[in-house]
Amino acid sequence: MSGIHIDDVSRVFGDFTALEQVQLQVREGEFFSLLGPSGCGKTTLLNMIAGFLDPTTGRIMIGERDVTDLPPYRRGLGIVFQDYALFPHLTVFQNVAYGLKVRKLSKSEVKRRVDEALALVQLSSMAERRPHQLSGGQRQRVAIARALAIEPSVLLLDEPLSNLDAKLRKDMQTELKTIQRRTGITTILVTHDQEEALSLSDRIGILGHGRLQQVGTPLEVYRQPANRFVADFIGQVNLFRTEGVPFERVERYGRYYADDYETEAGTSLILETAAAPSETTGTFMLRPERIRIGDGGSTGINQVNAVIRHVSYAGDQVRLLVTLAGKGELIAVAPDPVFPVLPQAGDSVQLYWDAADVIPLPTEGV
């Protein structure tokens, strides 16, 4: 078990910079996710950790060892590939034994460790099958067993669940987490699925435009995104752009107000925030589930009258897309029993929210 230290790593392809000065410390035993949209550089970073790609600048350390110049077969990492990459000509047993035979272990030792790895992923009965005789989920588990059998210092997972259907993916997520807990192995998961990253990880690194935008716990990156990119990428969000709008501090309440704040479409409302906007603040964020339905008193602050444009009912929650005086838009999410009868498009609705839920975001990093 060891941590990973990515020190100022950049990668340039021709005149395209895929990754720029990434500085990252993954702790020992941690479940860490690299999350980002496609093309953000997360696969590039994974390939450099694995040794399939050389960084243009910077160093990569695994534990105390500088592996920057080591070929992939000397790094001792376990990798689970997106499409599993099982050897089609070998049985499940031989696939899992592959890395052990390379290490010239005795036959009985190979057998013991393969059995152990297959038991860990609950596939002991499938040892003599070939990959084409297995379902997607089973192949996935063989791939995990194969990667773990060599007792790697670090486990790299490259979009391991993206080829599975929704239900199976949920099961495998739980299983992955259980296996990681039980083995205590430092794990890096590369994914574009924010829900997967949020529910599995100890910490998440969000990559966008070739830069590491934020590193934090799931709670931090969701509730306190470092910038607009992160806020927009993780979950759904309402953004109020406030460049040029003067904020006034009212000492009595210790709060900040933007009078006559104009939404993007030009409707004015009074926006109240509990957090001090800094000089770099260009945007405020309001999560849809923080918006409440009702009149919220008659203060006229942080409340709007809106017209519902679209209603979608997801069982556990109702999602509303509303327009403010026919111009700006907000997304609001309410838990299921809020409405006795589902509202219809065209209905009017009153919305309000707390000043504490209006979060200032710096503009940089966009």
Binding site: F52, P72, Y73, F81, P88, H89, R130, H132, A147
Partner: protein, 292 residues
């Protein structure tokens, strides 16, 4: 019901389209082939006139005379040697073809690879005579470099035959291997390396097994071409080399013993068919392991 009749109609339409080529094949391949087999069982008198009676006498002679057994053996040997050398040389070439990323460069490699097939067999073979002869290019070069004192006798030997075979048959070995190599997911090699296997081990445990079908079909083509070629061994090996095609030519054109030439031809054909079937069987068995 309506559906079956449509299928039937399209089927008969395909047969109609196939008719010209089927007729051609029947007239110029199947019929002569049957005639050849029939002829191989005809007896001959002492003046080598074909008699209306049938017997196995020619086959008995082929399989009992030391000369012809030796000919069969060396024909097999030369064809096998050519196949093995071609296959060994084909792997690096196929690797280069598959690994080349620039399309222009890859096209250039393909053209280079199939260029031996673009010249006629006679011209190509004469070129080997110019290179390998006593006063040929290779001997001159070696003498000028003072590597040898006397010119080496390279032409008119089995070695010359094998060299010339390898040159022209290499593309038939490379192309199927390159095709099956191109079908291997790059992720498999990465997986192998991540498990600790270096390049050499990855080649033998992943690339080689997965290109086996391509290798075998290439080997089948090279073997049958090498066993049946006639002009190349005649020109660079000389007409006295113990090779079945040369013996057949001798019997048919010089000795004029047509039934015996026919029996030798059938023997050669069966020999090639057996080897091709064997290779095909191994390949089928292997592929069944991968996806059944």
């Amino acid at each position: 019901m309506a559906r079956t009749s449509v299928v039937k109609r399209t089927n008969s339409f395909y047969w109609l389209l196939l008719t010209p080529s089927l007729l051609f094949l029947t007239a110029f391949l199947v019929v002569p082939f049957i005639m050849l087999i029939v002829l191989s069982f005809r007896e001959v008198d002492s003046l080598l006139n074909v008699l209306p009676t049938y017997s196995l006498s020619h086959y008995t002679e082929v399989f009992t005379s030391g000369i012809y057994l030796n000919t069969i053996q060396s024909s097999l040997g030369v064809a096998l040697l050519t196949t093995v050398i071609c296959t060994l040389l084909a792997y690096p070439a196929a690797y280069l073809l598959v690994r080349t990323e620039r399309p222009a460069l890859r096209t250039l490699f393909y053209i280079l690879l199939i260029s031996p097939l673009l010249t006629s067999v006679v011209i190509r073979t004469f070129a080997w005579i110019v290179i390998l002869a006593q006063n040929g290019l290779l001997n001159e070069l070696l003498m000028n470099l003072h590597l040898i004192d006397k010119p080496l006798s390279m032409l008119w030997s089995m070695n010359a035959v094998v060299i010339a075979y390898v040159q022209v048959m290499l593309p038939f070995a490379v192309l199927p291997i390159a095709t099956s190599m191109g079908e291997i997911q790059p992720k498999l090699r990465q997986a192998s390396m991540s498990l600790g296997a270096g390049r050499v081990r990855t080649f033998f445990t992943v690339t080689l097994p997965l290109t086996l079908p391509g290798m075998l079909s290439g080997a089948a083509i090279v073997f049958s071409l090498a066993a049946g070629s006639y002009i190349t061994p005649l020109l660079v090996g000389g007409r006295l080399q113990p090779l079945l095609p040369l013996a057949i030519y001798q019997q048919a054109v010089q000795v004029f013993n047509m039934p015996f030439a026919a029996a030798l031809s059938v023997t050669l054909l069966i020999m090639v068919i057996l080897v091709v079937l064997l290779l095909g069987w191994i390949s089928k068995r292997w592929e069944a392991r991968l996806r059944d």
